[in-house]
């Protein structure tokens, strides 16, 4: 199912041209230009305020650039390909009062999916129990983030945009998530992970993208900080 949809390794899936985003006087992104290929796991790193979250939100279509353009899967209108995008952020994007299964059932509906089995599979994939009736609000942070990831995966998107998925998550859960991300990348997905915990992705990420002050200042294969002038 996934293979026929995946792009051959190497074809640029996401192109960002002169992407600029300003909030009044604050420039979150300044003319970022880059291409990202398919079948890759990208780790986006940098200090607070570097523009990582803004970049991800621009890719997700949640924020409109002040200048510049984003091209995803050949389309300049992110909304047109949004069914191929999965988004996750530090807040869980889940309803605290519902169980995991109920949450996924609802969000699956938004993608036109009315299949309980798929929901259960997505939950199992993140190593959680689909039968758990406990409301998500009572989960530990690790469980909540994993459930949020399941939500982002429910519609089997080609591209995953994950903003601080490991934040406040216990090491065990985090390692599980990384393993899952690796297997998804191997199966043909393209994954962008914004994180402060770069060490978690060492060995898993294909490329480390370093951002500072609203610009990409370096891209490396290995986890070594880029010298910034």
């Amino acid at each position: 199912m996934t293979d026929s949809k995946a792009a051959p390794p190497g074809a640029p899936l996401v192109v960002v041209e002169n992407l600029t985003k300003q909030f009044g006087r604050f420039a979150a992104l300044r003319g970022v230009s880059a291409t990202f290929d398919g079948w890759r796991l990208y780790a986006i790193l940098g200090d607070n305020g570097a523009g990582k979250t803004t970049l991800l939100r621009a890719l997700a279509g949640l924020t409109q650039p002040t200048r510049g353009a984003v091209t995803i899967l050949g389309s300049t209108d992110v909304r047109a390909v949004c069914d191929q995008l999965g988004y996750m952020a530090h807040p869980s994007l889940l309803y605290d009062e519902m169980s995991g299964m109920e949450n996924l059932r609802y969000f699956a509906h938004l993608y036109g999916i009315q299949d309980d089995e798929r929901c259960a599979k997505a939950i199992s994939a993140v190593k959680l129990d689909p039968e758990l009736t406990r409301p998500v609000g009572q989960y530990s942070q690790g469980m909540r983030q994993r459930m949020s990831l399941a939500r982002a995966l429910i519609h089997d998107p080609k591209i995953l945009l994950l903003d601080e998925p490991f934040s406040n998550v216990d090491v065990g859960s985090a390692k599980e998530m990384v393993k899952l991300l690796e297997s998804m990348r191997d199966a043909g997905k393209t994954i962008f992970v914004v994180t402060h915990q770069a060490s978690l992705l060492e060995g898993a990420a294909d490329e480390f993208v370093w951002m500072q002050a609203g610009q990409i200042v370096g891209r490396t294969r290995e986890l070594q900080p880029v010298e910034v002038r």
Partner: protein, 229 residues
Amino acid sequence: MKKAFPIFALLTLVLLSYALYEALVAAPTEQTMGDVQRIFYYHVPSAWTAFLLFLVNFVASVVYLVNRSDKADMVALVTAEVGVVFCTVVLVTGPIWARPVWGIWWTWDLRLTLTLVLWLIYVSYLMLRRFSSGSQTPVMAAVLAVFGALDVPLVYFSIWYFRTQHPSPVIGRGGSLDPRMARVLLINWAAFLCFAVLICWSRYRLERLKREVEETQALEALLEPRGVR
């Protein structure tokens, strides 16, 4: 363009003075109401001017929603502010006129009530502009203006029917208007219109300057390297 403003200002001043003279001195005294009636020459033109300004606001708001033009947003802002001022004039002169003539401060007559509702809608418009955060303000305000404009005919009909069910004194003139009075009315309206255009123009220039400064500051922030914030 620069020269035109002071010339227009002077013309407006002349016209206003002439209109004032006509209204207070030259116009014939009304039979039953006496000199108090002269307030009519302020009450009615203010109302017409306010309605016209709000109409321009509606058009500018629609234009903004269609092509997100900054100019349209500024026109909308300016006409709303000046419109509210003229509306206030109507609402103040109405009771001042009504009390000595009809013995009541207020009556829910068609014009006065419509003016009050418009005043309320546009004050809420100005409050929305003040309370929303910078980048969203133009869109939100434009949407509210559309709602307000669509409301106006409904307000009109509801009050009109209400008045047929519960008749009450009408603040204004029943019957036909003496041609000499009509002339004075029109002169005053012309003067008020010029005055409105003058103020709008002035406010528009002020707003444009303010936005130019903000844009320059934003551009500066974009270009300069960011240090410690």
